[in-house]
Symmetry: C2
Subunit: 219 residues, 2 copies
């Protein structure tokens, strides 16, 4: 038979050990807000801006080699259109337009939530440029929130490419984004990308950081 003091001591020790070893290790990640934008193939650039046209450089983006072009297009759906949608360069193998859910209501379209690059059977969209327009059967998506990081960051955060994590904000309107994709490449700078709906829901401005937590049991 054990005495009560011993039981109490054991319980206290267990509780204390549990408190000391949370499954969640918080880490800070800079948050960047992606406004609606598009990526175009060279063929589509020429269809919209004229034969032989090449995108011109407006400013560098945080991910190395990526840039905002001076060129913009109008995107059109059955219910409405949105002007001055920025083109991001360099040109890609597939044309892809990324909008927010708010934008999609204005356009009258239902783009799926997808990882960038995964456009198969996504929503159709009409692109209008100064020298032509295009009806794309697919290419319109809402981008899955994700975190770019290099292998060293991934090791430090104990996360892997393709894993989902939770990111918590500490703004005036705090939110936990519960399904954020980890994307690892040696080309990447550490940065979380969210769309304008996600940013505005949490009143996220410039220079906001989120706290990364692993989803228990997800890896």
């Amino acid at each position: 038979m054990m005495n009560e003091t011993a039981i109490k001591a054991i319980v206290e020790e267990v509780v204390s050990q549990l408190a000391k070893q949370p499954s969640i290790q918080p880490r800070s990640v800079p948050i960047a807000v992606s406004a609606r934008h598009c990526h175009l193939t060279q063929i589509d650039v020429e269809a919209l801006f004229g034969s032989g046209y090449t995108l011109t450089h407006k400013k560098d983006l945080s991910q190395p080699g990526q840039f905002a072009a001076n060129e913009t297009i109008t995107i059109v759906g059955p219910r409405g259109s949105i002007e001055k949608v920025r083109i991001l360069g360099p040109v890609r193998k597939s044309t892809q337009v990324e909008v927010s859910a708010t934008d999609s209501i204005k356009l009258g379209l239902k783009p799926p939530l997808r990882e960038s690059g995964d456009i198969k059977n996504s929503a159709p969209i009409t692109l209008v440029g100064p020298k032509g327009s295009l009806y794309k059967q697919e290419g319109l998506i809402i981008a899955q929130a994700h975190i770019h990081m290099n292998p060293s960051d991934a090791a430090s955060f104990s996360v892997q490419n393709g894993e989902y994590v939770t990111i918590t904000t500490t703004t005036e309107r705090p939110i936990a984004f519960s399904k954020v994709l980890i994307r690892v490449s040696s080309r990447y700078e550490l940065e979380m990308h969210i769309d304008t709906d996600e940013a505005n829901a949490s009143l996220i401005g410039k220079d906001t950081n989120g706290i990364l937590a692993k989803i228990e049991g997800s890896s």
Copy 2:
């Protein structure tokens, strides 16, 4: 001296009991999305729609006695305007316009995040109706996410008026809203009210429920 088997059994029992008794008790709450709208005083109704004008009934809202009026107005800021902003009735003691952060960017204004009714030193806004326009020195807010409930709901959820709770969604883009105000009145139907940014950030459609969890240590 206790043997190891006994210690192991106690530890296992403690851990199992802790797991069974979380401080968080999940409960389901229906979520309603509030599009941009305004509440007007009778004086302001008459300034915008004409002397002696009274709001007309379009449809009942979920909170008893509240209704969407047939009447809409245009709201205008230094950067842009938004047409067809629905008026909700009945008339109130103060005129108040509730917009999303996305709307506020379009208007070029910086409304504070406020509980409905708390408009002191909020943002200015111009209201335009068919018979006149008004410049309100204050009245434009972004509404704090909140949950209406009656005292019986509050007792069942173990929450109190004025308390903040966390609401988790289980949509394709799951979010935890970490600062949601509890508002208790015998007049209220159980319902969480969020704005369109919050709804679109979590891809919340009709008939979505959230899970309520108390914030530890908040009450």
